[in-house]
Every structure is written in structure tokens, then in C-alpha cells.
Amino acid sequence: MRFTILLLLVFALPTRPANAQVDLAGEWSPRVYNDHMDIGDYTGIPLNEAGLLRAEAWHPDQLDLPENLCRPHPIDMGLRVSVSQLRITNELDNETRRPVGLRLKVAWQEPEQMIYLDGRPHPSANAPHKWSGFSTGRWERNTLVYTTTHLKEAYLTRTGVPKSPEATVTTRVHRYGNLLTIVFIINDPAYMTAPYIRESSWIADPNQVIPPFPCEMSPDGTIVPAGKVPSFLPGKNDVLSEFATEYGIPLEATLGGEETLYPEYIKKMKTMKVAPRTTTEHYRRTQ
């Protein structure tokens, strides 16, 4: 009996599930060219009706609510803001010192994401959702592929396009020499009709220093009157069209949708009405 148990242990011990195929660890400097910085810019996003309704209801003053001032982005969004310096470290088990996965840390609001590569399962669907969710991954040849579930409801863009807590994100991390490209495939049937794919890149920067990101909440009522949650009622968003008029785009095209992602839509846009162009002081994120 003892011998059988020992033999089982013998075959269990030498497995090496989490060893990397390439070395992703290090400091990575972002090359992010920000998109979707204007209210009403939902271009290229396969939003469904519910997603569009939520996006249109969002008011930029919501960012000044106390609970939102220090609210982190989930990592798939945090990696895309302009101060998304990235650090990747190998994570070892505290007791066995065997690799269990990779840890990502981003500068803005300092979110961290642990990617388990040791074969553990995802928790129950009823487990708590977190800003960075729960991620498990594997190597496909030299590409790290991981899936994130258990994400809190968050933004898909920083101008109020929503992402539901049912969303899952599959992420592909590929190192090409000193270039790191990350492809996000976001699946959110609650708000989108198709997976939403977007990419970002970083350059290896061994001397990069990620500074602390202190954040302090203002008391309720300091910026926005206490008890008020700024929002637009359906059909009452009076700044929604300003992005379209600023850039001379048909309003319908700025509201996203799967059809707008493909080349054929260029022809269709030529048949659409474009409002006279105006330059406005409309809301635009600065970073």
C-alpha cells in the first residue's frame, strides 16, 4: 500500500506545468495611442441595444462621484490607459517555490492580475467578482493565452461604454523580441453582439520605474452634490451628437454596432445624412 502511494507521488512530483515558453517577465513601456476619448464615440464597438442605452445614459460627472474617484479599471482596460506602464513577474508558490503563474501590475491605480498556469480551475460562478477577475492560462506554442472570468461590471471605454459582470476576456500575449503585443478578445453577450478585439503593444524597458499611484477620495458632496448621480435619461443626452458633428461623421455610424466594423460600411456611410460640422467644447478625456 505504502509503495503504491509512493509510486503515485513519484509520478505526480516531476510535473512542470507553469514553466514559460518565453520570458515575459520584466518592465514594459506602453506605446498606447488612445482611442474612444470622446463622449458619443462608440465607433468600432459591436454594441447591442442594451449596451448603447447604457452608454448613452453615462454622464462624465459620474467620474467625480466619491466611489468612482479611486475606482480601478479591470486589467484589460487598465492596460490601455496612457499611463499603463506594465510589470510582469513570475509568481512562485510560497512553500514549494515552484512556478504557479505570472503577475501583471499596471501603473494607473496599480491594479494587479494573477494569471495561474498551474492547471487550477476557475472558481464557482457564485464566487465574488473582482476588478481583475480570475485568470487561468496556458501556452500555445510561444503565446501566452489566458481567460479571465469573475470581473466586476466596469467600463469598456473611458467614456462610459459598459462591460457587464458576465463578460469574459481571452487575452493573448506575444513577445516579438523587445516588443510585446497583447490582444484582448472581450466577449460580453449582455452588451455586445460579437467578440470585441483590440490590441496594444509595449517596448521592453529594463530601467522603467513604476511610481506609486496614491489616490484620495473626496468626501461625498465635495464635487458633485451629495446624493446626486449625474446621468442622461434615455433620449435626453444632448451632447451625444457632438462627436459626430465635430468630425463630420453620420451620427448613426458613431453609435457602433457590428455592421460598422467592416469595409462595406464605408459605402453605406456615403448614403447617410451628415449634420453640418461644428467645433464644440464637448467632453474629451485628456489621457
Binding site: T143, Y176, I197
Partner: protein, 277 residues
């Protein structure tokens, strides 16, 4: 069984499964020394693909305004050239293909057809601008070829560099003659297509005349995968444009394409200076 025998047994059984073996000498290339680029391909990049534009939408699906180069790290000389853009002049002077050059062709919404022209040349045709790119494996291009819109592209299968110590597999070791050799455990399979393009005619990074010069160098990395949600097959291309004449640092761009079953939707267009595609 006595304890020391059990320990020996454990050690003996563990070795073949966990311990990297010392260097075995240089391994032959996969597919054999005579393997062609086509035979060595780690994945199939051929077929028909259609752009899916999810980012930089207003820069790609429309012709942006003159002077709108907010996402391009232009230097002062580059801004000066961009601010002088005149599409009517380009069209009239036979320069309408400037925005369909190799550096930015994949940013133009449209369809691709990729095929093997021969065992060492991948061919990419685009319906937008009706352009053809040739990715040649096996050596640098002839220095005598004249610059063209699509330039000269050298292709390699990348990612097969040996693992090093940081990957947990140990590094190359010396054989008895002092040569550095790589053990089989340290070898990786190639897993992406890398294309380096030079000798291009000056062109545009965006439809609105944001320039790159004839000195620009374009590096492209191609990855394919199937997404677990729609089960579509995707091609993602990361493009790095280095141009000391007009850029303060390399510009990194991305484009992704969905595989289509056939040529449906193929819609060839001529080069047009004032159209999005």
C-alpha cells in the same frame, strides 16, 4: 522496501520526466535541412481575410482631416509635410497610391488574399487599392531593385530562438570542442511570421497625408488564432514603422482580419487619394 532503496527508486523514476538533459548538439531544422519556407510554416496564413476595424475607426473608415495626426509620433518635419497634404495634387500627379504603400496598406479597410506564389514566396493581394505584396523567404533583397509602393519584403518564421536560462530550461552549453550547443529541450518551434520591408517609395501612414519617407523600415509580425467565442479564425498584424526622417520614435500599429471561406465581397478599387479605401 528499505527507505534508501525507495529514495533511489524515486530519484530514478523522476529523472526522465523532470530533469533537462544536457546538451545533445545542434539539432537539424524542423522539416529537414532541405525544408522549404512553405514546408516549415508553423501555421496556415493563406486564404481570404476581411478587415475588422475596432480601433482608430475615424482614421481608417473615413479620410481624416488635414492635420489630424494625433496618434502618430511625428517630428516637426513630418508635421510640416502632413500639413501640406493635397489629395487633388496626389491624384493628378499619379501619386494616389501613397496611402496604399506597405507601411499602411493593412490599415486600409478591405480584403486580403494570401497564397503561396512558390515554396519561398508568400503573396498578399488586397482589394483596396488593388495592391500586391510579396514576402520572400531566404535572404536579403537585391540592392538593385527600384523602390516601389510595396518595397522589398524579407520574410522569416520567427520565435524559434532557443530558450534561455530565464525560461527555466538552462542556457546553451559548450560541447567538448567548445561550441555552444542547444539541447532539444531548449529548442522552440517557430510560431509567427515576421516580415521586414524596405526600399519603399515615400507614402502615407494615414489617408490624410501623414508621411513616411523612402528611408522608412517596416517590421510586421503576423499571428493567427481561433477565438473561443465566435470560433472565427483571426489574423492579427503588429506593424512597427521606423522612420528617422519623419517620426520621433517608431510607430506601432495593429490590424486584425477575420478569415472568410471564399472571395465573396472582394471589391477591387483603384488607388484613390481622397477615399477611405
Amino acid at each position: 522496501m528499505e527507505p534508501h532503496r525507495i529514495v533511489l527508486l524515486v530519484a530514478a523514476l523522476s529523472l526522465p520526466l523532470s530533469a533537462p538533459v544536457v546538451a545533445q548538439g545542434p539539432a537539424a531544422p524542423r522539416g529537414g535541412a532541405s525544408g522549404t519556407a512553405r514546408a516549415l510554416a508553423p501555421y496556415d496564413v493563406t486564404g481570404y481575410w476581411v478587415s475588422e476595424v475596432t480601433e482608430k475607426w475615424r482614421f481608417r473608415m473615413l479620410v481624416p482631416d488635414k492635420g489630424d495626426y494625433v496618434m502618430v509620433p511625428l517630428n516637426p518635419e513630418g508635421r510640416k509635410v502632413a500639413n501640406a497634404w493635397d489629395p487633388a495634387r496626389d491624384q493628378a500627379s499619379g501619386e494616389a497610391c501613397r496611402s496604399y504603400g506597405a507601411a499602411a496598406l493593412l490599415q486600409v479597410p478591405g480584403r486580403l488574399h494570401i497564397s503561396w506564389q512558390d515554396d519561398s514566396t508568400l503573396r498578399m493581394d488586397t482589394d483596396s487599392g488593388t495592391q500586391t505584396r510579396l514576402f520572400r523567404f531566404g535572404g536579403p533583397p537585391s540592392p538593385n531593385e527600384a523602390p516601389s509602393w510595396q518595397g522589398l519584403s524579407v520574410a522569416t518564421w520567427g520565435g524559434s530562438e532557443p530558450r534561455d536560462r530565464r525560461d527555466g530550461f538552462g542556457g546553451p552549453v559548450q560541447d567538448p570542442t567548445g561550441r555552444l550547443v542547444v539541447a532539444p529541450q531548449q529548442q522552440k518551434e517557430a510560431d509567427y511570421l515576421k516580415v521586414v520591408t524596405s526600399r519603399m517609395r515615400p507614402g502615407y501612414l494615414q489617408k490624410n497625408g501623414v508621411p513616411y519617407s523612402g528611408d522608412a523600415l517596416v517590421e510586421e509580425y503576423f499571428d493567427t488564432f481561433s477565438d473561443p467565442y465566435s470560433h472565427n479564425t483571426w489574423l492579427v498584424v503588429t506593424t512597427v514603422v521606423t522612420d528617422p526622417r519623419y517620426l520621433i520614435e517608431p510607430l506601432i500599429m495593429h490590424a486584425h482580419f477575420k478569415k472568410t471561406p471564399d472571395a465573396s465581397g472582394w471589391d477591387p478599387t483603384p488607388c484613390r487619394a481622397n477615399e477611405a479605401r
